[in-house]
Amino acid sequence: MSNKHILSRRTMLRSLTTGIGATVALPIFESMLDDHGVAFAEDGAPRPVRYGVFFWGNGVRPDRWTPNRVGDQWWNDPNEELAPIAENAMIRDRVSILSGFRLLDNSGSAHHKTRAQILTGAYQPSPSGNCCGQVAGASSDWLVRQAWAGQSQLRDAVDVGISQTNKGASNFNVNSGTVFNGNGDAQPLEMSPRAVYDSLFGNGLPEDVPLADITAFKDSRLSMVDLVREDAARLRTKLGAADKQRLDDHLEQILQVEHGIENLDAASACMLPAMVPSSADAYRQSVMLEQDGQPATIIGELLIEKNKVMAELIALALACDLTRVFTFQHHGMQTDTMFWNLPSVSLGSHQSTHDDRNNSPDPQARDFEAVHEIATFVMSQFGVLLQALADTADGTEDLLDNTAIYATSEYGDASTHSLENMAIMVAGGAGGALRTGMHYEGNGRNAVEVPLTLMRAVGLNLDGFGQGVSRATASFDPMLM
């Protein structure tokens, strides 16, 4: 892989088929390449390990997702839904499938409870008796970003989401997802590729500032941060304990703004033309559908286009060491994302898992075919993310080799809210720590062992992960080299 450029020239943020967005040439980083075109190789230092979480809502059809072959080379006898990954020789040997793992806390099986368990290792019921309670634990990506705080050039983590569809008509879930900070708060996901671009590359450096003035520019930018701190200090004296804590948390996050200003030159090295991807609104369009000869117009999300742009932005951020942790939510738990790109799927994602008549005139045709098709599509979209990492050189290897990705959903089988057979994949080599390309059978093991094992593989020293009956203390050793 040593001939690879850090980002292949075909890694372009293309003008998408629908005409949105503008062509953006991603950086080639000549200054960062050594004579052999290998990035960051000048000092021969090993490339950092990265950590990611990929999440999608409403599970799979375990009977059509689980590979038929156990052990290595699962792709030689994959099941239907994993075909998009099995067919891609560039990534499949760096993806492991984990079947037969389960959630141990059976006190509840609603979507938000299983999501909390699979991502944070615990669900804590709300003291209020209200619907959804608190997510008491921190998610694995949160623990990793805390452990690695300040190590990347810019951001401790980048958290993105693709589909913005909610559950039904509620404001439920619009931005909810994968990242929990251990205080019961879900962290925001960025749904706009433009905003991701801005926050990574929009460092506020005016075009007309001569390089010689960068120090002066930084000086004033840092003074801005100081003044925000002064304002906060004055406000803080007036507050109660809870709000003091919240303001302190706010100030802690400002460190990342400061960090970014201090490393403004480093990030600039990654910034090429001022062309940027589109904002989230551009990734919706009026779509004419025809089903059974009936035309209808819907507002469709451009899921494929947005997924691709986000995947490439993540790859770029990792390659430039603007972050070392990412989360990537394709569509949220229990959401009713419409996959209008799949002509035979007529229901939203969540609805499909409960009421999949899928338009068939045959009342017995409730075969959850739509769930299957959506799952297959989501696997292809996960493949796009993995491909973007595999296309990007990183030291003598590629990004996928140096990343550990935990990919999962809140269920295996969502139609029965089952706690068994969770859908779990692990991708990337974690810098050589993970044995990849395997199909492991869990035989009822605690699913929470998987993120624990991954966190340990990327270097975190943890006694365990999660709380209560769901807590895992043992690694799933077969995954480790």
């Binding site: 409870k113 209200n130 879930n173 925001p188 925000v228 007036k238 109660g240 990342q256 209808a296 338009n359």
Partner: protein, 719 residues
């Protein structure tokens, strides 16, 4: 607990709260049978945690004597985070640029796993994440630069030479006052001046210095959060009390609370000036400001936003609806449904009685929605219709039974009897329509549909009218100038076995419509509809992509209109319903499966019957007499009160004190961003009393603003 009543001076009185306790008693008795669906208090920590409930059931002490006084307090003091919309308006305000559209350049409001919360509640005490704070930094810098680069001098009307000069100082003073929603302290002004000076020294430009100062203020906690600390003084002449649980907001905090509530925006100049002058604590002044803000277009927009969130129709245009099942559903129709709901809620802002939300026989309809409802708009109102061609249908109909058919009607019974005409459009128009006067014979339980085809485009319309009362049906098309052909034929040839159902056509015409197709006309709803529960928007939102959903419709009533909490389904149950079959046709039959399993029945017995009462309306709100030919039973009872169908259920809800009490809670949650606990319940019940007495929504808004709930806070909130 003591409390000062403004009307009667400093009278202390005890609170007896029979209403509150009655609600809890009712709720908890249901908990015992396995489905708690009581009024929703997030901090309701006296609820039983398990189902044995025997020591928590207040009915045990219904006759007891120890609970005649409950603790009463306003919401705790705290630091309230602005919503995305409020920040956007605050940025417009600080940059004096009302046309700024920032959208998702600003952080989104946080999410919830709960089915429903207002944006103000979601935001109020949520933290900002790292990506949010980076976003504020980015957007503030770039948007300030954009506005400073504009040729207009609204924001900065003079040319600063130095951060210390009069021009720069005046700018900074005004900018900070707008940003912080209060006058800046001298120290703050000094520090922002110092930043401007340093930037000027660094980058050689006084304007750049002001830009950096502005971008800093825009990400200051004083901008992004509203402190509601209770450090104010009551107006002179008002009863003073030192009760630590009722601490008045400062004048500027009160002004901000008012304008954030009614405008989602910072106080304007008039309101700020009153706060500066210390006059806002005067109840008369405060009431007048509340009225002014509510009457302003921004106030109406905000109220519309409140009801949109509450009733959940915000994303109606993007509802997933299966186009094969619901071919009529389109973003255009959905917008018309939204417009109807908007007007229905504005009607109560404009003085219609509050309960008319549930009982009004009015609609506010575009031509598209009128056609959908089967309403003839009076005198073609809103359509500016011009008849281009008109054909009287000749009597008879080849191969059809014409016995008993009035002579001027043509019988469409088969392919050979279809009506086919050509016509020419000379001039372009906004839209066209084919209008048909027709009725259908009633030969069976199936619906009778007329297919209207113009060139290659076909649309079907359900013919409900009978021989005694033929109706006019309008099918919209958009036609280019040129030659066209229209075909009318019977569409329900796919029903087996064919019933003797035919369509009889009197005349039909081609019309052009040049008026704004979105123009809304106020008129009467058809007889089968009345109030919120039979408006198409609500019926579409609370339904599935291919069907109705008695459960989600029932939950809408329980959770949103009655403020009840319904727990999750138990683990491990398959929640899909049986498919329809020869034996199972109606949704009542399908959801009865819920009732056969004890675990399901505990809750579904409270939910589903309310949704089943709306089964005469399909998944996008089209009226239907039957479902797959099976008759519909739409009777039900609302916790013991019997009703038959949507109209009666709406009437029962309009009379239900729980609905009024819930409405007031929702308003308070939206206004203050907090979910009430028992301590606020007595204050809310007072407001519910106002609503019950006056039936006036503006009056209740004013009463809320004047109440201690709004004007005071308790001690700091705890985590």
């Amino acid at each position: 607990m003591r409390f000062t009543d403004h009307d009667t001076g400093s009278t202390m009185r005890s609170w007896s709260t029979p209403t509150v306790r009655a609600i809890h008693a009712a709720a908890l008795s249901l908990w015992v049978v396995g489905c708690y669906h009581g009024a929703g208090n997030a901090n309701d920590d006296d609820l039983p945690e398990d189902s044995d409930g025997d020591n928590a059931d207040p009915s045990n002490d219904e006759t007891g004597d120890q609970e005649d006084e409950v603790e009463v307090a306003p919401f705790p003091a705290g630091l309230r985070r602005l919503t995305r919309l409020q920040v956007e308006n605050a940025y417009r305000h600080v940059l004096m640029h009302d046309d700024l559209i920032l959208g998702d350049r600003l952080p989104l409001d946080p999410s919830t796993d709960e089915d429903f919360k207002f944006d103000t509640e979601l935001a109020a005490f949520a933290p900002f994440g790292a990506s949010d704070i980076i976003k504020f930094d980015n957007v503030a810098l770039s948007v300030v630069a954009e506005v400073f680069d504009m040729p207009s001098d609204t924001l900065l009307s003079c040319a600063p030479v130095d951060a210390q000069d009069q021009c720069a100082q005046d700018y900074l003073q005004g900018m900070l006052r707008r940003a912080f929603r209060r006058p800046p302290t001298e120290q703050e002004l000094d520090e922002y001046t110092a930043l401007a000076q340093q930037t000027q020294d660094n980058l050689g430009d006084a304007r750049q210095g002001l830009e950096f100062a502005t971008a800093t203020a825009m990400q200051s906690p004083w901008m992004l959060y509203q402190p509601e600390l209770g450090d104010g003084q009551r107006a002179q002449g008002e009863a003073t009390q030192d009760d630590a649980d009722f601490r008045p907001l400062s004048d500027h905090a009160l002004a901000s609370r008012l304008s954030l509530f009614l405008w989602n925006a910072p106080p304007d100049e008039e309101l700020s000036a009153l706060a500066d002058a210390g006059e806002l604590q005067d109840p008369d002044v405060l009431a007048a400001q509340a009225q002014r803000l509510l009457a302003d277009p921004r106030g109406r927009d905000t109220m519309k936003g409140f009801f949109t969130q509450w009733f959940g129709y915000g994303s109606i245009e993007t509802l997933p609806k299966n186009s094969a099942v619901f071919p009529d559903f389109s973003p255009t129709l959905a917008s018309a449904m939204r417009a109807e709901l908007d007007h229905a809620v504005l009607d109560i802002i404009d003085g219609a009685p509050y309960d008319s939300l549930f009982t009004s026989t009015q609609t506010w309809t575009t031509p598209a929605l009128a056609a959908f409802y089967g309403i003839e708009l009076p005198g073609g109102a809103g359509t500016d219709t011009q008849v281009l061609e008109r054909w009287e249908a000749e009597s008879g109909g080849q191969g059809c039974n014409t016995d008993g058919v009035p002579p001027q009607f043509h019988n469409l019974c088969s392919d050979s009897s279809q009506l086919r005409r050509t016509f020419t459009i000379d001039e372009a128009a906004a839209s066209h329509a084919i209008t048909v006067r027709a009725y259908a014979t009633q030969g069976g339980n199936e619906v009778t549909r007329l297919r209207v085809t113009v060139d290659d485009e076909a649309a079907e319309v359900e013919i409900m009218a009978t021989a005694s009362d033929p109706a006019t049906y309008t099918v919209p098309f958009t036609l280019a100038p040129g030659d066209h052909e229209v075909v009318l034929e019977l569409a329900n040839d796919y029903f087996e076995p064919p019933d003797n159902r035919d369509v009889m056509v009197d005349w039909f015409e081609v019309v052009s419509r040049n008026a704004d197709p979105n123009a809304v006309v106020k008129t009467e709803l058809p007889a089968e509809r009345q109030g919120l529960l039979s408006r198409a928007g609500i019926l579409s939102v609370y339904a599935k992509p291919i069907d109705t959903s008695p459960t989600t419709r029932g939950l809408f009533v329980r959770q949103r209109l009655l403020c009840e909490i319904i727990p999750d389904p138990p683990p491990g149950v398959a929640t899909e319903l049986p498919p329809s079959s020869d034996d199972i046709k109606t949704n009542r039959q399908r959801v009865e499966i819920h009732m056969t399993e004890q675990a399901c029945a505990a809750c579904h017995q409270y939910i589903d019957p309310l949704g089943l009462a709306l089964e005469h309306f399909d998944g996008i709100g089209v009226y239907r007499e039957t479902h797959d030919g099976a008759p519909l039973d739409v009777t039900g009872d609302l916790d013991g009160v019997q009703f038959d169908g949507a109209i009666e259920m709406g009437e029962r809800l309009a009379e239900d004190p729980r609905v009024l009490s819930c409405a007031v809670r929702q308003l308070s949650r939206f206004a203050l961003g907090q979910h009430e606990s028992d301590k606020q319940e007595p204050l809310l019940q007072e407001l519910a009393g106002v609503l019950q007495q006056t039936r006036s929504w503006p009056t209740v808004i004013e009463a809320l603003v004047l109440s201690d709930l709004f004007r005071t806070v308790a001690d700091h909130r705890e985590d």
